[in-house]
């Protein structure tokens, strides 16, 4: 099943033509990895999926992004509701300077959840979902910034899960983390696909190969090749893909 359909998506930052006609389908409850060298447009593409580029000055977007057949750039779309459905985890862990509990509850409060018991319940469920509950359950009221980098990133995932998204975008979520924290987050990701559709940007090709079901290779603002991850890494059709994944450039 297709969750997100991208049709002929172009994006300009001023003079810079950053995305050049992207056509890509993201499948429901799968992990799709976006790979490619720096500046290829993979992060920019990821951010178009929850309209995080909206506030960038001089940005111009054309083409279509359909989430469950609805155009997310349509005139009547409420960005708040869109981002509730399409959550995002960033490159470096960015918990807010408040308690662990308040971090996990932040999104719920945005969306107007007020009942104390309900918030408690969802906070616990999200922290469990992000595999960090056991580590923090006795210190929910302590500052989130006291956690280690890996724990902070899992808290950020929990924060995203708390608003019950359908899609989770991850922008190099482990690039600032040590190998053990990375492993924990990778394990978590495959767990997440039971309920969520995951799109991850990664610089780490082993990571893409390990965790993703589908892989899209970006180069210079174009989507060069998209296929099942096994096939992309075993038998890429495009020579540029092959050059990249075999380490000849990038």
């Amino acid at each position: 099943m297709t969750k997100i359909v991208t049709e002929n998506l172009h994006l300009h930052y001023g003079e810079n033509h950053a995305l050049r006609g992207i056509n890509l389908n993201i499948l429901t409850n799968k992990i799709t990895a976006l790979i490619g060298p720096s500046g290829c447009g993979k992060s920019t593409y990821l951010k178009t999926l929850n309209r995080m580029n909206d506030n960038v000055p001089n940005v111009k977007i054309s083409g279509q992004v359909l989430l469950d057949s609805e155009d997310i750039y349509g005139g009547t779309v409420d960005v708040t509701k869109l981002r509730k459905k399409v959550g995002m985890v960033f490159q470096s862990p960015n918990p807010f300077p408040m308690s662990i509990y308040d971090n996990a509850a932040y999104g719920l409060r945005i969306h107007g959840v007020k009942k104390r018991l309900l918030i408690d319940e969802i906070v616990e469920r999200s922290l469990r979902g992000a595999a960090i509950w056991d580590e923090v359950k006795d210190r929910l009221k302590t500052p989130a910034l006291a956690l280690s980098g890996g724990q902070q990133q899992r808290l950020c995932i929990a924060r995203t899960l708390a608003v019950s998204p359908e899609v989770i975008l991850m922008d190099e979520p482990t690039s600032a983390l040590d190998p053990i924290s990375t492993m924990k987050i990778e394990e978590l990701m495959s767990e997440l696909t039971k309920q969520y559709t995951v799109v991850i940007v990664t610089h780490n090709m082993q990571q893409a190969a390990r965790i993703s079901d589908y892989t899209a290779f970006f180069l210079l603002g174009e989507m060069i090749e998209y296929d099942e991850t096994n096939r992309i890494f075993a038998a890429p059709k495009n020579p540029r893909t092959e050059n990249y994944i075999t380490g000849r450039f990038g």
């Binding site: 708040t80 869109l82 959550g87 470096s92 960015n94 999104g107 910034l145 924060r159």
Partner: protein, 292 residues
């Protein structure tokens, strides 16, 4: 090449360096000594004059006693009113410039204006305040006119300091909030302002320092005497004229020749300013510690 040149041992003393250290040391000592002498002189001469009666009574010309309670009350009123006007406007302005204004030119004009305002001598604000607030808006010479004039004076400080504090809030927090669907205003309320609060508090305390120390402008717009304790309702009180401690200091020391009272007020003001500066440092430290 000898051994001392090729190795890392054998530190050579340069006479020019030694001289420079000496000169810098002397200057430092001179600055320190002057400050200490100045503060010490005022404390020694002033603290003796600070009595319970002075602090808690109004002047009584019949029995010839002097009290500065009315001036203390006027000062408190002016601080309170000025902050009530200036903090919301200043912080709101800083939030607007930092978060909403996207016209570079407009931002530069505002920043240039605020910087220029902060360099203008206070008496000019006094003249403007008199013409605009006292005469044009018909507020007469009053505490409220004084507070409004001071509002214009402290706004640049508040705006710039608050702006710096807002700029210091990491972009990643804003992104994180936006990524969860927070509206800009929600993000400002829950992330930006709480994180910028230390800077905003610093701005407030610096402003209080400026308010406490202002005399020239207030003499024109708020009045030059503090003989009576305020009467009537709050609004009646702030519509009356009255002088603050700094203005009283000027009057006692200059026109009445009451030097002891002048020194007592000077010592009191000094204590207030030092107290304010210490609290700025303390709050800065506390919030820095809290962020880790």
């Amino acid at each position: 090449m000898n051994r001392a040149m090729s190795g890392i041992t054998g530190k050579r003393k340069r006479p020019a360096d030694a001289l420079l250290y000496l000169v810098i040391g002397l200057f430092t000592a001179a600055v320190f000594a002057m400050t200490m002498y100045f503060a010490g002189y005022i404390f020694v001469k002033g603290c003796a004059g600070i009595t319970f009666a002075l602090l808690t009574t109004a002047p009584n010309p019949i029995i010839r006693t002097i009290g500065i309670l009315p001036a203390i009350i006027n000062t408190a009123y002016i601080i309170l009113l000025t902050l009530v006007f200036a903090v919301p406007i200043g912080v709101g302005g800083a939030v607007y410039i930092n978060e909403y204004a996207n016209k570079r030119k407009l931002i530069r004009v505002i920043e240039f204006t605020t910087e220029t305002l902060s360099g203008i001598p206070s008496i000019i604000f006094g003249v403007f305040g008199y013409v605009f607030f006292c005469v044009f808006l018909n507020l007469k010479v009053s505490l409220i006119a004084g507070a409004l004039t001071l509002t214009i004076m402290v706004l640049p400080t508040i705006i710039r300091t608050a702006q710096e504090a807002l700029k210091a809030v990491p972009l990643s927090y804003r992104e994180g909030a936006a990524g969860l669907g927070a509206s800009k205003w929600y993000m400002i309320r829950t992330i930006l302002l709480p994180n910028a609060s230390s800077g905003i508090i610093t701005a407030v305390i610096l402003s209080v320092g400026r308010i406490v120390g202002e005399s020239a402008a207030l003499l024109l717009v708020a009045g030059g005497s503090a003989m009576y304790l305020p009467k009537g309702s709050f609004f009646e009180q702030i519509k009356n004229s009255g002088s603050t401690l700094a203005v009283e200091l000027y009057r006692y020391a200059y026109s009445r020749g009451e030097n002891e009272v002048g020194f007592a007020i000077a010592a009191l003001l000094l204590i207030i300013v030092i107290g304010l500066n210490l609290s700025v440092k303390l709050i800065g430290k506390r919030l820095k510690g809290g962020a880790k």
